[in-house]
Protein backbone atom coordinates (compact mmCIF):
# COMPACT_ATOMS: atom_id res chain seq x y z
CA UNK A 1 0.00 0.00 0.00
CA UNK A 2 1.05 3.58 -0.55
CA UNK A 3 2.92 5.23 2.28
CA UNK A 4 3.89 8.86 2.65
CA UNK A 5 6.87 10.02 4.63
CA UNK A 6 7.26 13.56 5.83
CA UNK A 7 9.87 14.69 8.29
CA UNK A 8 8.21 14.50 11.68
CA UNK A 9 10.78 16.81 13.23
CA UNK A 10 9.90 20.48 13.22
CA UNK A 11 11.76 22.69 10.80
CA UNK A 12 13.02 25.90 12.39
CA UNK A 13 14.29 28.66 10.13
CA UNK A 14 15.00 32.36 10.27
CA UNK A 15 12.66 34.86 8.71
CA UNK A 16 13.61 35.67 5.14
CA UNK A 17 15.19 32.27 4.46
CA UNK A 18 13.79 29.60 2.17
CA UNK A 19 12.02 26.70 3.85
CA UNK A 20 12.16 23.34 2.08
CA UNK A 21 9.89 20.51 3.12
CA UNK A 22 10.07 16.97 1.79
CA UNK A 23 7.40 14.43 0.93
CA UNK A 24 8.48 10.92 -0.05
CA UNK A 25 6.15 8.16 -1.15
CA UNK A 26 6.96 4.50 -1.37
CA UNK A 27 4.79 2.78 -3.92
CA UNK A 28 3.14 3.70 -7.20
CA UNK A 29 3.59 7.17 -8.61
CA UNK A 30 0.38 9.15 -8.20
CA UNK A 31 -1.34 11.08 -10.95
CA UNK A 32 -1.05 14.20 -8.81
CA UNK A 33 0.08 15.38 -5.43
CA UNK A 34 -1.32 18.10 -3.20
CA UNK A 35 0.07 20.26 -0.42
CA UNK A 36 -2.05 21.63 2.42
CA UNK A 37 -1.40 23.96 5.31
CA UNK A 38 -2.87 23.26 8.73
CA UNK A 39 -2.90 25.67 11.64
CA UNK A 40 -3.53 24.45 15.20
CA UNK A 41 -7.21 23.72 15.84
CA UNK A 42 -8.21 24.23 12.22
CA UNK A 43 -8.84 22.13 9.16
CA UNK A 44 -6.23 21.89 6.40
CA UNK A 45 -6.20 24.54 3.69
CA UNK A 46 -5.31 23.63 0.11
CA UNK A 47 -2.17 25.28 -1.25
CA UNK A 48 -1.01 23.65 -4.46
CA UNK A 49 -1.65 20.67 -6.71
CA UNK A 50 0.99 19.31 -9.07
CA UNK A 51 0.32 16.66 -11.70
CA UNK A 52 2.67 13.82 -12.64
CA UNK A 53 3.58 15.45 -15.95
CA UNK A 54 4.54 18.72 -14.25
CA UNK A 55 8.02 19.10 -12.85
CA UNK A 56 7.41 22.32 -11.01
CA UNK A 57 4.58 24.59 -9.99
CA UNK A 58 4.65 28.05 -8.44
CA UNK A 59 2.21 30.24 -6.58
CA UNK A 60 3.47 33.51 -5.18
CA UNK A 61 6.23 32.56 -2.69
CA UNK A 62 5.45 28.85 -2.92
CA UNK A 63 7.09 26.34 -5.23
CA UNK A 64 6.45 22.63 -5.50
CA UNK A 65 8.48 20.09 -7.44
CA UNK A 66 7.53 16.53 -8.30
CA UNK A 67 10.16 13.92 -9.15
CA UNK A 68 8.51 10.61 -10.05
CA UNK A 69 11.91 8.92 -10.38
CA UNK A 70 12.88 9.78 -6.84
CA UNK A 71 9.26 9.40 -5.67
CA UNK A 72 9.56 12.74 -3.98
CA UNK A 73 7.99 16.17 -3.84
CA UNK A 74 9.69 19.23 -2.43
CA UNK A 75 7.75 22.20 -1.10
CA UNK A 76 9.56 25.52 -0.91
CA UNK A 77 8.56 28.76 0.76
CA UNK A 78 10.82 31.62 -0.24
CA UNK A 79 11.31 34.78 1.82
CA UNK A 80 9.65 33.03 4.74
CA UNK A 81 7.67 34.99 7.30
CA UNK A 82 6.58 34.16 10.86
CA UNK A 83 3.01 33.95 9.48
CA UNK A 84 4.14 30.92 7.45
CA UNK A 85 4.55 28.98 10.70
CA UNK A 86 2.17 26.02 10.47
CA UNK A 87 2.08 22.31 9.72
CA UNK A 88 2.31 21.40 6.05
CA UNK A 89 0.70 18.21 4.81
CA UNK A 90 1.42 16.30 1.65
CA UNK A 91 -1.45 14.27 0.14
CA UNK A 92 -1.69 11.70 -2.64
CA UNK A 93 -4.67 9.96 -4.20
CA UNK A 94 -5.35 6.33 -3.42
CA UNK A 95 -4.55 4.28 -6.51
CA UNK A 96 -6.63 5.53 -9.39
CA UNK A 97 -6.88 9.28 -9.72
CA UNK A 98 -10.64 9.09 -10.18
CA UNK A 99 -11.71 8.53 -6.62
CA UNK A 100 -10.69 11.72 -4.88
CA UNK A 101 -9.67 9.69 -1.84
CA UNK A 102 -6.47 11.10 -0.42
CA UNK A 103 -3.73 9.66 1.72
CA UNK A 104 -2.15 12.31 3.93
CA UNK A 105 1.30 12.42 5.41
CA UNK A 106 1.55 13.27 9.08
CA UNK A 107 2.91 16.69 8.21
CA UNK A 108 5.97 18.74 8.97
CA UNK A 109 5.73 21.66 11.35
CA UNK A 110 7.51 24.80 10.22
CA UNK A 111 8.53 27.50 12.66
CA UNK A 112 9.76 30.76 11.19
CA UNK A 113 11.54 32.91 13.74
CA UNK A 114 11.68 36.70 13.38
Amino acid sequence: SQKIEQNSEALNIQEGKTATLTCNYTNYSPAYLQWYRQDPGRGPVFLLLIRENEKEKRKERLKVTFDTTLKQSLFHITASQPADSATYLCALPYGSSNTGKLIFGQGTTLQVKP
Binding site: I4, R42, G43, P44, G100, K101, F104
Partner: protein
Amino acid sequence: GAGVSQSPSNKVTEKGKDVELRCDPISGHTALYWYRQRLGQGLEFLIYFQGNSAPDKSGLPSDRFSAERTGESVSTLTIQRTQQEDSAVYLCASSFRLAAYEQYFGPGTRLTVT
Protein backbone atom coordinates in the same frame (compact mmCIF):
# COMPACT_ATOMS: atom_id res chain seq x y z
CA GLY B 1 -19.48 32.56 0.43
CA ALA B 2 -19.73 30.22 3.39
CA GLY B 3 -17.17 27.51 3.79
CA VAL B 4 -17.62 24.01 5.13
CA SER B 5 -19.17 24.05 8.58
CA GLN B 6 -19.21 21.31 11.19
CA SER B 7 -21.05 20.87 14.43
CA PRO B 8 -20.54 20.53 17.25
CA SER B 9 -17.04 21.97 17.46
CA ASN B 10 -16.36 19.93 20.58
CA LYS B 11 -18.04 16.85 21.94
CA VAL B 12 -17.27 15.04 25.17
CA THR B 13 -19.06 11.74 25.63
CA GLU B 14 -18.92 8.75 27.86
CA LYS B 15 -17.65 5.44 26.61
CA GLY B 16 -20.48 3.38 25.18
CA LYS B 17 -22.64 6.33 24.11
CA ASP B 18 -23.55 7.11 20.51
CA VAL B 19 -22.52 10.39 18.91
CA GLU B 20 -23.59 12.15 15.75
CA LEU B 21 -21.39 14.65 13.95
CA ARG B 22 -22.70 17.01 11.30
CA CYS B 23 -21.14 18.51 8.19
CA ASP B 24 -22.53 21.21 5.90
CA PRO B 25 -20.50 21.30 2.67
CA ILE B 26 -20.02 24.22 0.35
CA SER B 27 -23.08 24.71 -1.83
CA GLY B 28 -22.59 23.15 -5.24
CA HIS B 29 -19.88 20.76 -4.13
CA THR B 30 -20.89 17.27 -5.15
CA ALA B 31 -18.15 15.37 -3.32
CA LEU B 32 -17.96 15.13 0.46
CA TYR B 33 -15.31 13.41 2.55
CA TRP B 34 -14.86 12.47 6.19
CA TYR B 35 -11.44 12.11 7.78
CA ARG B 36 -10.19 11.38 11.26
CA GLN B 37 -7.08 12.98 12.73
CA ARG B 38 -5.60 11.62 15.90
CA LEU B 39 -3.32 13.85 17.93
CA GLY B 40 -0.04 14.45 16.12
CA GLN B 41 -1.05 12.26 13.21
CA GLY B 42 -2.00 12.77 9.62
CA LEU B 43 -5.55 12.57 8.32
CA GLU B 44 -7.10 9.14 7.99
CA PHE B 45 -9.71 8.71 5.26
CA LEU B 46 -13.05 7.36 6.47
CA ILE B 47 -15.71 7.70 3.77
CA TYR B 48 -16.69 9.79 0.77
CA PHE B 49 -19.88 10.61 -1.08
CA GLN B 50 -20.14 11.67 -4.71
CA GLY B 51 -23.50 12.85 -5.96
CA ASN B 52 -26.02 10.03 -5.98
CA SER B 53 -23.42 7.27 -6.29
CA ALA B 54 -22.99 4.68 -3.57
CA PRO B 55 -20.57 6.01 -0.95
CA ASP B 56 -17.08 4.59 -0.60
CA LYS B 57 -17.03 3.29 2.95
CA SER B 58 -13.68 1.52 2.68
CA GLY B 59 -12.00 3.68 5.33
CA LEU B 60 -14.53 3.16 8.12
CA PRO B 61 -12.59 1.42 10.93
CA SER B 62 -15.46 -0.70 12.23
CA ASP B 63 -19.18 -1.29 11.88
CA ARG B 64 -19.74 1.12 14.75
CA PHE B 65 -19.09 3.90 12.25
CA SER B 66 -21.66 4.94 9.66
CA ALA B 67 -22.41 8.03 7.62
CA GLU B 68 -25.24 9.39 5.57
CA ARG B 69 -25.65 12.24 3.18
CA THR B 70 -28.86 13.87 2.06
CA GLY B 71 -28.58 14.53 -1.66
CA GLU B 72 -25.69 16.90 -2.18
CA SER B 73 -26.03 18.65 1.14
CA VAL B 74 -25.67 17.80 4.81
CA SER B 75 -23.86 14.71 5.99
CA THR B 76 -23.84 13.07 9.39
CA LEU B 77 -21.20 10.71 10.76
CA THR B 78 -22.48 8.45 13.52
CA ILE B 79 -20.31 6.53 15.93
CA GLN B 80 -22.13 3.94 18.01
CA ARG B 81 -20.94 2.60 21.36
CA THR B 82 -17.99 4.98 21.42
CA GLN B 83 -14.61 3.76 22.64
CA GLN B 84 -11.72 5.78 23.99
CA GLU B 85 -9.71 5.11 20.84
CA ASP B 86 -12.39 7.00 18.90
CA SER B 87 -11.12 10.22 20.50
CA ALA B 88 -9.85 12.39 17.65
CA VAL B 89 -10.71 15.36 15.50
CA TYR B 90 -13.21 14.45 12.80
CA LEU B 91 -12.81 16.56 9.70
CA CYS B 92 -15.22 16.98 6.84
CA ALA B 93 -14.23 18.26 3.41
CA SER B 94 -16.02 18.96 0.17
CA SER B 95 -14.89 19.46 -3.38
CA PHE B 96 -16.48 20.54 -6.64
CA ARG B 97 -16.18 17.01 -7.91
CA LEU B 98 -14.02 13.96 -7.39
CA ALA B 99 -10.40 13.71 -8.30
CA ALA B 100 -7.76 16.32 -8.95
CA TYR B 101 -9.73 19.06 -7.24
CA GLU B 102 -8.71 20.61 -3.98
CA GLN B 103 -10.69 19.71 -0.92
CA TYR B 104 -12.11 22.42 1.31
CA PHE B 105 -12.07 21.44 4.95
CA GLY B 106 -14.29 22.38 7.83
CA PRO B 107 -12.86 23.26 11.25
CA GLY B 108 -13.48 19.77 12.57
CA THR B 109 -15.24 18.29 15.56
CA ARG B 110 -13.04 17.37 18.47
CA LEU B 111 -14.42 14.21 20.03
CA THR B 112 -13.29 13.14 23.47
CA VAL B 113 -14.49 9.81 24.84
CA THR B 114 -14.08 9.51 28.59
